[in-house]
């Protein structure tokens, strides 16, 4: 097989894996906050976290460039301090995948945490467990299925991220061309035969992850 195809496959897995780790680490606390706490601006926070799910990828990409570009609000500070910019690097692909796939994790996990039996949580408090212990030993284990489903969905979405990635990471052959971007390039220049393998691989992998997500969500409801 062509080296460039292998590169794209490896890059996509690498980007989606790192993005998913970050999504689990930030998505779980956020989902917990949204499910269990009452605070000002809670629904606003939920809307902000969910927006990338429905916005056109070009709009999300635009926001990311305005924030993290070399002359962006945050990107400028990073560039002035370190001389480094996330633009056109594979980290930009991770950032785009993270932002776009995070809502799936938050939505699924929030629903799972909200469906945990109140009595069990109250019992844990009555027995003298702290909130942190209760969250870790009672709520999260009971919400496990939803968390696994959210993780699988996020991974699949992160692998398929295209629009925002193209704007932020660009299409640099051998550096930032993930599978979706490589497929787009190949199709644009009529080289379908090389795209076939990646198209099939993307379809199969996404199918498997959707199946996992389905299996784990079924029994909650």
């Amino acid at each position: 097989m062509e080296n460039s195809v292998l590169f794209s496959v490896r890059l996509s897995l690498q980007v989606a894996s790192l993005a998913t780790v970050l999504i689990v680490l930030t998505g779980m606390p956020l989902a917990y906050l949204l499910a269990r706490k009452a605070f000002r601006g809670k629904e606003l926070l939920d809307v902000l976290c969910t927006l990338p799910l429905v916005l056109p990828p070009t709009v999300t990409g635009y926001y990311l460039i305005v924030l993290f570009g070399r002359n962006g609000l945050i990107g400028r500070l990073i560039y002035e301090w370190t001389g480094w910019s996330i633009m056109f690097t594979w980290y930009a692909a991770v950032l785009a995948s993270f932002i776009v796939a995070l809502p799936l994790m938050i939505k699924t996990t929030r629903a799972a945490i909200e469906s945990v039996d109140r009595n069990l949580i109250n019992a844990s408090y009555t027995l003298g467990h702290s909130e942190f212990d209760t969250a870790l030993k009672v709520i999260l284990p009971l919400a496990k299925r939803g968390i696994v489903a959210g993780t699988a969905l996020s991974f699949a979405r992160a692998m398929g991220e295209f629009g925002a990635t193209l704007m932020l990471a660009g299409n640099l052959p051998g550096r930032t061309d993930t599978m979706p971007i490589a497929i787009y390039s190949l199709a644009g220049s009529g080289e379908w035969s090389q795209a076939h393998f990646m198209v099939l691989l993307m379809t199969t992998m996404s199918g498997i992850f959707l199946y996992i997500a389905n299996r784990f969500t079924k029994r909650i409801i």
């Binding site: 460039i65 070399r70 633009m87 056109f88 660009g170 640099l172 052959p173 390039s185 644009g188 220049s189």
Partner: protein, 215 residues
């Protein structure tokens, strides 16, 4: 657009425009869209529509031309004076259209080839999917330089500075063809439109927007 308004004022016939990428427009015409006139930014797409018998070949003219320019963001810290300067180590990123799909990218490579700097700067290329994306990256300062058409800069003069214009001999001429589409019900109007575009007034409007006249 401006030529269209001028045409309306001269002839009293209303023009309706459909803007799009030349390749897409050619596909629409081949697909049988009811179009009277086709102006393309690349000979290739006009050829495609012509080959499939959708164009009145004798009506085809190269109505205007464009030049290829090297641009840089206005407050850029690195000084750039010529195409050769792109080899400097301080120039880290150069936006060019993906030569596989974007004509402007092919012209850019031809120009770099004529200066014999293509292989030494290729590592710095940031490929884009259309020429407007080059313009966006340069105007936001995400890259140090880029290659676009002179007319693109006319659309965004505030954030961008032209460093150099590629000599005409350094790339294939950028000529835009216009032609009447076969099967039109308003062939006389379409003819009148073409002669208006080729007239002195038409050329003046095109020049105002950065186009060159086609010799």
């Amino acid at each position: 657009m401006e030529i269209g308004r001028f045409y309306e004022s001269q002839y009293g016939t209303k023009c309706v425009f459909n803007f799009g990428a030349s390749g897409d427009l050619a596909k629409q015409i081949i697909g049988g869209a009811p179009v009277d006139l086709f102006a393309s930014a690349a000979q290739k797409d006009m050829d495609e529509a012509d080959k499939q018998g959708h164009i009145v070949t004798v009506s085809r003219f190269g109505f205007t031309a464009n030049s290829v320019v090297l641009i840089t963001p206005i407050g850029a810290k690195v000084s750039l004076k010529s195409f050769e300067d792109l080899r400097a180590a301080q120039i880290e990123k150069i936006a060019v259209g993906n030569p596989k799909t974007v004509p402007a990218g092919r012209y850019a490579e031809e120009v770099f080839g004529s200066y014999q700097i293509l292989s030494s700067i290729k590592e710095k290329f940031i490929y884009t999917e259309n020429v407007r994306q080059v313009l966006d990256y340069v105007s936001r300062g995400e890259v140090d330089a880029g290659v676009v058409y002179a007319t693109d800069v006319a659309a965004r003069p505030k954030d961008i500075r032209i460093v150099a214009t590629a000599p005409e001999a350094s790339h294939k001429p950028v000529v835009y063809p216009i032609a009447i589409v076969k099967g039109t019900k308003s062939e006389a109007d379409a003819k009148a439109f073409i002669s208006l575009v080729l007239s002195k007034e038409g050329k003046k409007i095109l020049q105002k927007h950065g186009f060159k006249s086609n010799k």
